[in-house]
Symmetry: C3
Subunit: 389 residues, 3 copies
Amino acid sequence: MKQTSSFHPASPILNFCPPSLPASWYYDDVHHLREISAIHHSSWIYVGRVNDVPRFTMQRIDVAGQNLFLIKDGEDVIRCFHNTCRHRGSELCQQSETKLKSKLIRCPYHDWGYDLSGNLIQTPHATEAPGFDRADNGLFDVLLKTWNGFIFVCLADHAPDFSKVADHGLQALDNWPMEQLVTGHRLVKNINCNWKVFWENYNECLHCPGIHQSLCDMVPIYRQGVMSAAEAPGWTPDQVFTPVLKEGAKTWTKNGKSCGPEFPNLTEDQRRAGFLFVTLMPTMYIVGHVDYVRVVSLRPLGPEETELTAEWLFMPETLAQPDFDLANVVDFTMTVMREDGAACELNQRGFHSSRFVQGTLMPQEFDVFHFQQWVRLQLGESPYMPDDK
Amino acid sequence: MKQTSSFHPASPILNFCPPSLPASWYYDDVHHLREISAIHHSSWIYVGRVNDVPRFTMQRIDVAGQNLFLIKDGEDVIRCFHNTCRHRGSELCQQSETKLKSKLIRCPYHDWGYDLSGNLIQTPHATEAPGFDRADNGLFDVLLKTWNGFIFVCLADHAPDFSKVADHGLQALDNWPMEQLVTGHRLVKNINCNWKVFWENYNECLHCPGIHQSLCDMVPIYRQGVMSAAEAPGWTPDQVFTPVLKEGAKTWTKNGKSCGPEFPNLTEDQRRAGFLFVTLMPTMYIVGHVDYVRVVSLRPLGPEETELTAEWLFMPETLAQPDFDLANVVDFTMTVMREDGAACELNQRGFHSSRFVQGTLMPQEFDVFHFQQWVRLQLGESPYMPDDK
Amino acid sequence: MKQTSSFHPASPILNFCPPSLPASWYYDDVHHLREISAIHHSSWIYVGRVNDVPRFTMQRIDVAGQNLFLIKDGEDVIRCFHNTCRHRGSELCQQSETKLKSKLIRCPYHDWGYDLSGNLIQTPHATEAPGFDRADNGLFDVLLKTWNGFIFVCLADHAPDFSKVADHGLQALDNWPMEQLVTGHRLVKNINCNWKVFWENYNECLHCPGIHQSLCDMVPIYRQGVMSAAEAPGWTPDQVFTPVLKEGAKTWTKNGKSCGPEFPNLTEDQRRAGFLFVTLMPTMYIVGHVDYVRVVSLRPLGPEETELTAEWLFMPETLAQPDFDLANVVDFTMTVMREDGAACELNQRGFHSSRFVQGTLMPQEFDVFHFQQWVRLQLGESPYMPDDK
């Protein structure tokens, strides 16, 4: 469930009830591969934090089923390569992390050596016959970009414009000291649903009253199934409203208190809102609080299985506090995420009915609609057009 | 293995040896889906007993891979719906049984409410935009029929004539107090074979001498591999014969004694025969004894896996006897079913030979032949015609 | 890893670097079935030792996914049949071995009886209608050949010329008492790689220095990544060289000592070399030592899984020695095989990169190249032709 802290001057709700995506798109194997190819192979994919990659150590990652590795050199430049030797196709990094023994990346099979830019340097014991050119046999590289201490890669030859990836723009988190933050806790969990179900659940709050008790307690407006007053049935433009935390709460923790010193450069509005969601399709969202940042990312494992990773980022001095209470921070959102995971699996189980061709979105599900339009566009399908337009 | 108690005035055995069905029909994934679609999606499928469905409780069932639920209202009317909400496709009944909290069926995701006829009544927190019509968004219903206390559903829009489903006609069990019987024991077991193998094994007794020791002891004629004298090689029409239980046995129990009071309205013939088989293709057979009734049903899980359910039905007063001995009833047929299950799995394992295109049926396998002709017909294939016809 | 003991008068190394096979051939399901059909269904496949098959006992084997059994009659003639009854397709041999109760092979389902030549003899309890001919209903037989005490079968109707199967000719092992040898140890192990990866690894020694420490200690030339001096970069024809075991070693055992009496008829060259590799594509290689013989065979279980079987064969008097030390024999090659298995799995894991279309073979990988050309030929594909030819 996403929570927006932005105030809408006019109501964002739809004046029609569009059909949802075809049900088969949520479980069909062939369609799933089509989405992975059209979306996940062509997008910027979040793969980890810059300061979680040690120098001279191959770190294996899996992006859309591709076996890759990250490597950071002596100047802290990070590169990403396919985890495949050009000789006979052997895997190069066999463990989740492999520390280099020299300044070369060595294939463990026949000992071919590549430098950290991926150039082939050595083919021990083997003659290089005429026609063999080392320049043709370097590692396969993968496009890479860092932003706010996050690493993104793109499998395609031509990457989309990174500046358009974040829904609130690349400056949205500029008041947070993002690059200095360190990972204080990480949770990995598989949920039995299509990756799109996760984003649809994230993009509406109609389910909040029935599903999220503690969250509705923290953000009282959610109890009405809306993210802002403008979404409520019967709203009129004179009713201005910004969602806020409950009386006395400063941040999303169990007791509502900050877990350490607050970030110094936040605006008064940011401090009052208590949270800011930034979404980077198709794999990640970030929530900035006054005292910590939470990152949730997802990796489709199949049409009906998705891996979720949650990471909690802190200033080093926050973690260093002798009485730092990690559970107070983590437990609150763990509960919300567990509730959302169960809701997603519940949704997925209903899709296989032979009669259910597609569902219907309600006016309050405008962000689900926008997400589904984006999916249609990525696949080269026509967007939905309401009859009266 | 089926046992017929009907006397054949002329020999039913074939005067030719027809080919069996193509071997690939027993393991090929695509062909299997073709059968499920042509047969199981278009037939009346047994799903449970009327008196095992409590009022105001959703009971989840799986029919041919479709997730459905039964619901009984205050007038004891039972209905069946797809277990899918019309909003975004969520599952409605999450456990095998879910008791309603109100008189509405509530979606656990966004709280949409439907009445027990499936009409959409509420969409909480959501505006219903122009063009949204509740009448278009009721639950998907499934055809349902009850007979003798058994519930049958049909996934198709147009169901086949129910009166033609039972091989001996709908009156066959009229002398049994079927609706009053209650389920005294239930066994669910998966066997690794195609669903057709189960029915083929059921439809012949040539395997009895080698496979069923205790059954041949109970029904002596089975020791000759036949279900009636008319099937034996060399039979002439003057030899009239009705299969009977062994001397002193009244019913199919371990000790041959009735497990409680006998059903009062049986004819003398029914009492003497000791058992009556009624078959309802493609999912069920019923055996009426003088003191209890047994039901066996099957559910294809895949081309090479089938779920079997056996249910033992009794009069309440039989179960209430202080010295009622369930094991004496259940163990006898459990042994027969275990033997048949092993035989079916044995048969299945041989099908994958690249040389085995199809087998050959013997004259005594006339009911296997009729079953296979029925399958050909359901699939729109030509029935087998012997050369001399 | 293969080790050749044959001396090459001229260098066998290539003067070009050919492309390796397409990466998808190592994991694609459809391509895998194409190879199994074109290669494993049409070749002589090793299935066991003559003296490991007892008389009058069905022994189940799996060849390229086909369920078969061997049966040895009273004159020690071994035959092979599909493990499928002609009646309704039941499996005949249910366990890995089934001792016959009579001189007939009996179907456990309906008791049909076949003699040991596969002729149908009995169809108990069943009338044989006009048109049914026992001669049309014998067991499906499989071509079978024995050589040096090894049994080979071929699923095709027309088998390839057996005399061309062994790479060094059928006489290569004539100085070993092959038929008298008995199986002293057997190991079965699955490795997660395509069957071709196993043979490619077997056909080159470039990986030896990095992978096989103890083997390089036993055969010192391997430390240079070559199987003979002629393969080394910079070799000139005046450098004559035969690979030998290290000083003092007689055979491939942990301590280098013979595990029992040496085979009496070996030539001085065979004794000095210490090992002789004989390869029978696509399923087997044999290594003759001075004191024992090792056999390694493989069975593809899927595109990315292969079952390996290693067998150690000895003279009965060797095994009968009171102080016979099996571990001294087995441990040495177990280590080498474990290292090769890990290397094969390492290679397999790198194939799925979307960028890796195919690899490059180096001049020293001439036998990998010959194997790949053979695969292309079996599949009806054009062999690779270097540009300058």
